[in-house]
């Protein structure tokens, strides 16, 4: 709004002051430990001709699972309309290479958001954690302040936006806002964003939160290209950026410690036909000291337990030896009470008992089996009696 410059300047100063007063006291806690890894893999396209985007996402899902991240810590969002598509020559199979060596849809694929659930709103809800109370735990990003999160997005994108399911867009400032809110609530320790779309680097251009490293498959004004066409399936089956990423990870296993720097520098612009741009200005650790398994694998921090808590059983036994004597007497008292309530029930039951007998007698006399019909008859006869008596008395 066109307000006076002085007013806006004052507002800006106040905002800086206010934000400083929040940041300064909260910067004192000690750095948290890395506890666990999460992966959020999003495929934002649907329809048969976008086969390669689903193949991208499934390949990365497979890699991340192979390196150790369990299904309970992976959120997979897919339109999932490829494998059983009527145009699929290989029903229930999804490939990322024309040699068809690997069926990505083969076993143990757990899709958390499928079909029309892949929307910008759900994606932002996953990131910020603002779900309805009824959403199950498997669909939530349950990360904490020690989590490293890998966010991989693929689909069709453009300058500062990403297209979701052909109907809506995710803007770069929406993504930046969601990441800012995640950081405020300490929902991650470090975040790696990988984007494989056209003009991918513009999607994370508005990020400001610390602890984020992002890589995109192409810069502003460049397109990202698919790798090869599979003549059997009839569409392109994988994108170049993801293809070379997978090639890097095929050589690794759970125990290796290749660094993030080696991954980022392994992309060759001539092979990709675009420039893979990454930004590290928000990230403190130098990339050559960060193993890729910090994001792509799952390493639990373990501490051997040196001893049990001795004396617990003895203390428990001595404490509860006395109490068990008390509970014996308590149990006796309860039993007495149970008897008492039983007799009370009996007397009440007596009344009920009589009614039941009477009904049974009527049923027997009238030959009606269904007690409800009997009751209907009874009501009808009452109404009849009433009308007759009013007619008589009038």
């Amino acid at each position: 709004m066109a307000s006076d410059p002085k007013g806006s300047q004052l507002r800006r100063i106040l905002l800086i002051f206010f934000s400083l007063s929040i940041i300064l006291p909260l910067s004192s806690p000690s750095p948290t430990m890395h506890n666990n890894n999460w992966a959020v893999l999003v495929c934002t396209s649907r329809f048969w001709f976008n086969y390669r985007h689903m193949a991208n996402t499934l390949s990365l899902y497979r890699t991340v699972k192979r390196l150790g991240i369990p299904d309970e810590r992976i959120i997979l969002m897919l339109a999932d309309d490829m494998a059983c598509n009527a145009r699929n020559n290989y029903p229930a199979q999804v490939f990322n290479n024309e040699n068809h060596q690997l069926n990505l849809y083969g076993d143990n694929v757990e899709v958390d958001y499928r079909g029309y659930e892949v929307t910008v709103e759900n994606f932002l809800r996953v990131l910020t954690g603002r779900h309805e109370a009824s959403v199950p735990r498997s669909k939530r990003l349950l990360s904490d302040e020690g989590s490293h999160i890998l966010l991989y997005m693929t689909g069709h994108g453009g300058n500062e936006f990403l297209k979701f399911q052909d109907t809506e867009e995710l803007q770069s400032h929406d993504l930046a806002d969601a990441v800012k809110q995640m950081k405020e609530k300490n929902r991650f320790k470090e975040l790696l964003i990988m984007v494989d779309t056209c003009q991918a680097a513009t999607l994370f251009s508005q990020l400001q939160s610390p602890g984020v490293v992002a890589i995109g498959s192409s810069m502003k004004g460049e397109n990202s290209y698919s790798h090869h066409l599979d003549p059997d399936v009839g569409v392109s089956v994988v994108d170049r950026f993801t293809f070379y990423t997978l090639a890097f990870f095929e050589r690794l296993d759970m125990y290796s410690n290749a660094s993030l720097n080696s991954l980022f520098t392994s992309y060759d612009p001539t092979l990709l036909m675009s420039t893979a741009y990454y930004r590290t200005d928000l990230y403190e650790r130098p990339l050559n000291m960060v193993p890729v398994t910090n994001f792509f694998g799952s390493v639990m921090k373990t501490i051997p337990t040196d001893s049990a808590y001795p004396g617990f059983l003895v203390a428990h036994a001595s404490e509860y030896a006395t109490i068990s004597a008390e509970t014996e007497t308590a149990r006796v008292v309860l039993e007495d009470e149970a008897d008492h309530s039983k007799t009370y029930d009996q007397s009440e039951k007596g009344l009920q008992h009589i009614l039941d007998e009477w009904l049974k007698l009527l049923e027997g006399k009238l030959g009606v089996k269904d007690p409800e019909v009997l009751v209907a008859y009874g009501l009808g006869s009452m109404v009849l009696l009433l009308t007759i008596s009013t007619w008589l008395s009038s």
Binding site: M1, F18, S21, I22, P25, S30, M33, N35, N36, G68, I69, P70, D71, E72, R73, N108, V120, E121, L124, T128, G129, R130, H131, E132, A133, V135, P136, R137, R140, L142, D144, G146, D174, D177, Q181, E184, K185, M254, Y255, S298, V299, M300, K301, T302, I303, P304, T305, D306, S307, A308, Y309, P310, G311, F312, L313, A315, H316, S318, E319, Y320
Partner: protein, 591 residues
């Protein structure tokens, strides 16, 4: 209108001489003026109604109260009043006059950086040895002083076992320290032959020393007990808060049969586990609302490699393979039905290895065999390996063994789990005793009362700071989106959260630790509920530009026309009126 124009035409045509467009003979009509001005006025009158009808319901948040409480908590962090008293039951003549000051100094010297939940302590020393009774210490601690007359305790202690002495001293402390029983930590110093220091499971300890005149060693012992144990819980490392943001924790106990074709084990966790763990859960109630569940799983192999060790004739897992032990693909642990979205689930797993890797042991980083065969992962849970009996004999039986975990073994495993639970909450699994004369008694609740106090303090402080920062973020967020609907529910949750935070703070200063912990859990849960309310989605709410873009295409042209018409009409009316007035004036002049 027709009259006016004809009249105007009339005036311009009929006057041949002089006064043509300056004069008119009739009063100008007011119909047009009235119409245009009334339309303008109706627009002006209706504008407030329009604004009111397009107003968004925003429940007012008490931002001022939030920021003031937040600043208050950051500038003076919650300090818990603790009172330490040393009671000498044997005659004692201190070489320096201010023993309490030296003890306080000793404690303060060891105090590391200000961590959340530290005690704001006062020290007092009482010498109550039958004949004389002398108090010395802080004036502020006068309310909780030890009443004299406990000289008979020394004889009563003689010959009892440690548990008995503990209970005896508990009744003495309860009887003689006024109403401060829950806030005072005491140490009883007795002169005797065999030197020992025993820390009880309530809030007191006792020391038997040979030589009470050596005041430096007395001060250092007292300082160690107060500072290292009662105040800091005996731990050096940082704190873990494994509690979900809604204040719930689910302990999920699983028995994993690695290969059911070798043997299948079941367990009676419901009876044994619930009986043993019930007091622990009750003791931790002010820290979190803990529930338990258990399951038995089959076909759950581990995913790391173990090596055959000839010397031990067993399979060994090295420490560096432990991070890969938990096979998350095959161990379907996170199938809890009772855990809601924001609870924390802690997994406790008993792993029964298959015949091909039995018996299985863990090697510690120092190269020794682990005594417990168990390990933990912070904020996740713990794993304990249980080797079925007789598996080293490698019997060639075809039939599958189906058996139940023997109750004694289950009890031993539960002891290990209690140790792991203590580790997960940031304490040591067992007491680290600095010398053989030191002893710490274990409690059937899994945590002694002084450790529970430490937990309550840490959690209260953490919860308060966390809830205040959440509320602060929420109010910033709400202010940054002026067109976002803020539902009444959010406003109410924020109010209740602030109320609970204030209550927790006042309880802290009164020293009621478990009530303050409960209020702080409530404050944090409500603050998180408000922040994570599903209706706060910034993408759904229109900005000011959007609001203008909706209404301007209609109102801008219309208001332009109305304004212009009104202005034109008013100007025309006044011009005509002045013409008529000059005509009247000239007529008066001429007549």
């Amino acid at each position: 209108m027709a009259d006016d124009t004809s009249a105007a035409a009339g005036t311009s045509t009929e006057t041949g001489a002089g006064t043509e467009s300056n004069l008119r003979t009739t009063k100008p009509g007011t119909k047009r003026l009235f119409l245009t001005v009334s339309v303008l006025i109706s627009f002006l009158l209706g504008a407030p109604f329009l604004l009111k009808s397009t107003e968004i319901h925003r429940s007012p948040l008490p931002s001022a109260a939030i920021s003031s409480l937040s600043d208050h908590l950051h500038s003076n962090p919650p300090s818990f009043p603790c009172h330490f008293q040393a009671i000498f039951l044997s005659p004692f003549k201190p070489s320096d006059s201010s023993l309490s000051l030296s003890v306080a100094e000793r404690i303060r010297a060891q105090l590391s950086a200000q961590s959340c939940g530290n005690c704001n302590f006062t020290v007092s020393v009482t010498v109550d040895s039958g004949s004389s009774c002398r108090h010395e210490g802080d004036a502020a601690s006068a309310a909780c002083l030890w009443e004299c007359g406990g000289g008979g305790l020394v004889d009563a202690i003689e010959g009892r076992d440690d548990q008995g002495i503990d209970e005896l001293l508990l009744s003495a402390v309860n009887g003689r320290t006024g109403g401060c029983a829950g806030r005072v930590y005491s140490i009883f110093v007795i002169e005797g032959r065999d030197e020992r220091v025993v820390i009880g499971k309530h809030r007191h300890a006792w020391m038997v020393l040979k030589d009470l005149d050596d005041s430096t060693s007395v001060v250092s012992m007292i300082g160690t007990v107060f500072g290292d144990y009662f105040m800091r819980g005996g731990v050096e490392k940082g704190e873990y808060i494994p509690v979900g943001s809604d204040g719930n924790v689910v302990l999920s106990f699983s028995l994993l049969n690695s290969n059911p074709s070798d043997w299948i084990y079941d367990w009676d966790f419901q009876r044994t586990g619930e009986v043993l763990l019930a007091p622990v859960l009750e003791a931790l109630a002010p820290v979190a609302n803990i529930t338990m569940e258990s399951q038995v799983l089959y076909h759950a192999p581990k995913s790391s490699i173990s090596y055959w060790d000839e010397k031990l004739e067993a399979y060994v897992v090295n420490t560096r393979d432990l991070p890969f032990f938990v096979n998350s693909n095959e161990w379907h642990l996170d199938t809890s039905l009772s855990a809601s979205g924001r609870s924390k689930v802690l997994q406790f797993v008993v792993y029964v290895p298959s015949a091909s890797e039995c018996p299985l042991y863990i090697r510690t980083p120092e190269g020794e065999m682990s005594k417990t065969n168990a390990f933990i992962s912070p904020m996740w849970g713990g794993v304990a390996i249980w080797n079925p009996p007789g598996c080293s004999m490698q019997s060639q039986g075809i039939h599958i063994v189906r058996d139940v975990l023997p109750p004694q073994e289950l009890e031993k495993i539960i002891e290990i789990f209690i140790g792991q639970l203590r580790l997960l909450f940031g304490l040591n699994s067992n007491y680290v005793e600095p010398s053989p004369k030191f002893k710490v008694l274990a409690s059937e609740k899994g945590f002694t009362n002084w450790e529970l106090d430490l937990l309550y303090r840490q959690h209260t402080c953490f919860n308060l700071l966390s809830s205040l920062s959440t509320l602060q973020s929420l109010s910033t967020l709400v202010e940054s989106l002026p067109r976002m609907i803020v539902m009444d529910e959010i406003g109410k949750q924020v109010e209740l959260s602030l109320e609970a935070a204030n209550l927790a703070e006042s309880n802290i200063s009164l020293g009621i630790n478990n009530a303050s912990a409960l209020s702080s859990i409530r404050a944090r849960a409500l603050a998180e509920d408000a922040f994570f309310h599903p209706s706060i989605m910034s993408i759904s709410y229109s900005s000011m530009e959007h609001y203008f873009a909706i209404y301007m295409p209609f109102f801008a042209p219309v208001s332009l026309h109305v304004l212009l018409a009104a202005v034109k009409e008013v100007k025309r009316y006044f011009a005509e009126r002045s013409k008529y007035l000059t005509f009247r004036a000239s007529k008066l002049k001429s007549s």
